[in-house]
């Protein structure tokens, strides 16, 4: 089926290309949008949007959620050395509830 640059494209090649293009139009134009419109899908998508998750993220810089780590940030603020020394239990502010995420 392969046609190199030196070959004249065959009718079979053009037909194959057209078939795939039609399939793409059908899938992206009708099938996927129909699935996307289902309430379950929309709920899942809304949740991911809320969580700042971009599934197409190629690198961490593509993820919004990476800058929004409330639990980890709150813990780091209250126990700055907790991630470095296992015995570091001292809180910066003992009156704070160490488990509460930052507002």
């Amino acid at each position: 089926m392969n046609a190199s640059a030196n070959d004249k494209p065959s009718l079979r090649g053009w037909l194959a290309l057209l078939t795939v293009i039609c399939a793409v139009v059908l899938l992206w134009g009708f099938v996927f949008p129909a699935w996307t419109a289902s309430p379950q899908f929309q709920q899942r998508q809304a949740l991911r949007e809320e969580q700042g998750i971009d599934l197409a993220a190629f690198f961490y810089t593509d993820l919004d959620s990476i800058e929004n780590r409330q639990h980890l940030d709150a813990m780091r603020e209250q126990r700055p050395w907790a991630l470095w020394f296992p015995w570091s239990s001292e809180e910066v502010s003992p009156t704070n509830d160490s488990t509460a995420p930052a507002e």
Binding site: M1, N2, A3, S4, A5, D7, P9, G13, W14, A16, L17, V20, V24, W28, G29, F32, P33, A34, W35, T36, A37, S38, P39, F41, Q42, Q43, R44, Q45, A46, L47, R48, E49, Q51, I53, D54, L55, A56, A57, F58, F59, Y60, T61, D62, L63, S65, I66, E67, R69, Q70, H71, L72, M75, R79, A82, L83, W84, P86, S89, S98, T99
Partner: protein, 525 residues
């Protein structure tokens, strides 16, 4: 790069990189020495550094020029008002790519979420990919096209190519890349992590294997130039100081386990499976152990892998990513692992960054935070991986043999001549941006703005162009031969199994034994 040779290495044979990637036993033929100065003017590696470096400096200074003199005060004011201060690059809308379409209906005037409990008849017009609200993305896309055409055209001209010949083909490749972005941006496709790399590759493969790649497009199939320039730009996102964001546990899970898995898998492929192509072995080992497509691209360029080897490794990685993204959260729930341990396991094992976040989000917010942070630390490893692999390749794999067949240790000049220079640009970009990030009070804000508003759009385009080019140069038969005997598949499965076991053990040791108190604190136990 000779487009008529489908098995060209990712790195061009024109300069210092013509050694076989397949065998250490092969004697490297004597090459006509080319001075470094000459290479700097003509070689693709160097042009990748010039173009990538120029774009990074341009984007950095564009933001710096717009930094208000009272930035500190403005940040404090925003903080006092309980808001997050955001700096905007003047290039934010200058560079664009097709955006998501077929998403949720837009919010209504009151700002409340649109009703999602009732099915919507039909929405999702591909034209929406070219609009962001009421603003068109087309000028931004055309701007990227113009800038890339001029910069890459300059590189082609400097190497003795024809600019206008390149321009015609580049337009064709760019149109296909735009199409790939549109396909990848559909909500349903995006939801299952079917990245643009896959569609770019598929678009190129479809044309080359049906009607054939048009002759006019061939001068623009500069895979190496696109990939290496994209990697130099990616260097600005490899911020060394972010390595410590999860402290000791993060370093152990991401930076101790990952190299062990990478080296073990590579050794397994060579010694046990006896995979013929060392570069294929290395690319699969890296994309499986480090961070998927981005690691595959960086390693393939560093070890001069063939284009179809990169395509195959990317396809393999994306397939397993989708499976793992769905299966692993279910396994974690079934085993009753804590969200911290589960998140760390996900972050250390699933290849793709987006899929890691999605899998973490299926558990809970804490799992998402831990998973994404572990993945971020692992992402940063690609700088070290690319440098390490490039050094290993030039010093060991491509070592010359003496008349007795024994390996000859290359001297410093030989190492320099063979070393893929773009890696230096990649590492330099990483170091410079890490310094800006860490040394200046507002460095994080500045670097974040430069990357988010401009450079990440450009590197995305360059990788997309590279995958279209790979597809246009690849024959299905070349890809099919990798499936023979199933060795690469066995390599991936065995490597990933080791990765799963070792990462789970290390994450358990760190988060449930050594730093138990921290985990309890995080979980409110």
């Amino acid at each position: 790069m000779n487009a008529d040779q489908p098995s060209d290495p990712i790195s061009p044979a024109s300069s210092e990189n013509s050694a076989s990637d397949n065998s250490a036993t092969e004697i490297v033929t004597a090459e006509k020495p080319v001075s470094t100065w000459q290479q700097m003017k003509t070689a693709e590696d160097w042009w990748a550094i010039w173009i990538g470096g120029f774009l990074l400096v341009f984007c950095l200074f564009a933001v710096l020029a717009y930094v208000p003199s009272n930035l500190g005060e403005q940040i404090e004011e925003a903080k006092a008002a309980g808001e997050k201060f955001a700096l905007t690059s003047p290039l934010k809308n200058v560079f664009a790519k097709p955006g998501a379409w077929g998403q949720l209906p837009p919010k209504n005037e009151e700002g409340s979420e649109a009703e999602t409990t009732e099915p919507v008849d039909y929405y999702g017009n591909p034209i929406d990919a070219f609009w962001s609200g009421d603003k068109s993305r087309l000028p931004g896309i055309l701007c990227v096209f113009g800038l890339a055409l001029v910069l890459f055209g300059l590189a082609i001209s400097a190497a003795g190519g024809n600019f206008w010949g390149f321009a015609g083909g580049f337009t064709f490749v760019f149109v296909l890349a735009t199409g790939a972005y549109v396909l990848a941006s559909q909500a349903f496709v995006k939801h299952y992590n079917l990245e643009y790399a896959l569609w770019a590759l598929a678009a190129g493969l479809l044309i080359s294997n049906t009607v054939g790649t048009p002759r006019f497009a061939r001068p623009a199939l500069r895979t190496e130039l696109f990939i290496k320039t994209g990697l130099v730009i990616l260097g600005a996102e490899v911020l060394i100081s972010r390595l410590i964001e999860l402290g000791v546990p993060g370093i152990f899970v991401a930076w101790v386990v990952t190299p062990i898995v990478l080296i073990s898998t590579y050794a397994f492929g060579q010694k046990v499976l006896k995979i013929e192509s060392r570069s294929l072995n290395m690319v699969i080992s890296a994309d499986m152990s480090v961070c998927g497509v981005s690691a595959a691209i960086a390693t393939a360029a560093a070890c001069k892998a063939k284009k179809e080897e990169l395509s195959f490794a990317v396809g393999l990685s994306l397939t397993f990513t989708v499976i793992m993204m769905i299966v692993l959260p279910a396994v974690i729930k079934m085993l009753g692992l804590s969200p911290v341990l589960g998140g760390a396991w996900l972050g250390g094992t699933i290849d793709s960054t987006g899929a890691v976040a999605a899998a973490g989000g299926m558990l809970d917010d804490i799992a998402l935070e831990v998973a994404a942070t572990v993945k971020m630390i692992q992402n940063i490893l690609i700088g070290v991986t690319a440098f390490g692999v490039a050094t290993y390749w030039v010093t060991c794999v491509e070592a010359k043999k003496d008349e007795n067949g024994a390996g000859v240790k290359p001297d410093a000049g030989e190492i320099w001549r063979r070393f893929p220079k773009f890696v230096l640009g990649f590492v330099a970009a990483s170091i410079v941006f890490s310094i800006v990030y860490g040394a200046w009070e507002h460095g994080p804000l500045l670097v974040e703005t430069v990357v988010k508003d401009s450079t990440k759009t450009l590197r995305g385009w360059f990788f997309c162009l590279a995958f279209v080019s790979i597809g246009l140069e690849t024959n299905f038969r070349e890809l099919a031969k990798f499936l023979k005997g199933g060795k690469p598949l066995i390599l991936y499965v065995c490597g990933q199994s080791l990765n799963l076991v070792l990462t789970l053990f290390m994450a358990w040791l760190m988060f449930e034994v050594v730093f138990r108190e921290m985990t309890d604190n995080l979980l409110g136990r």
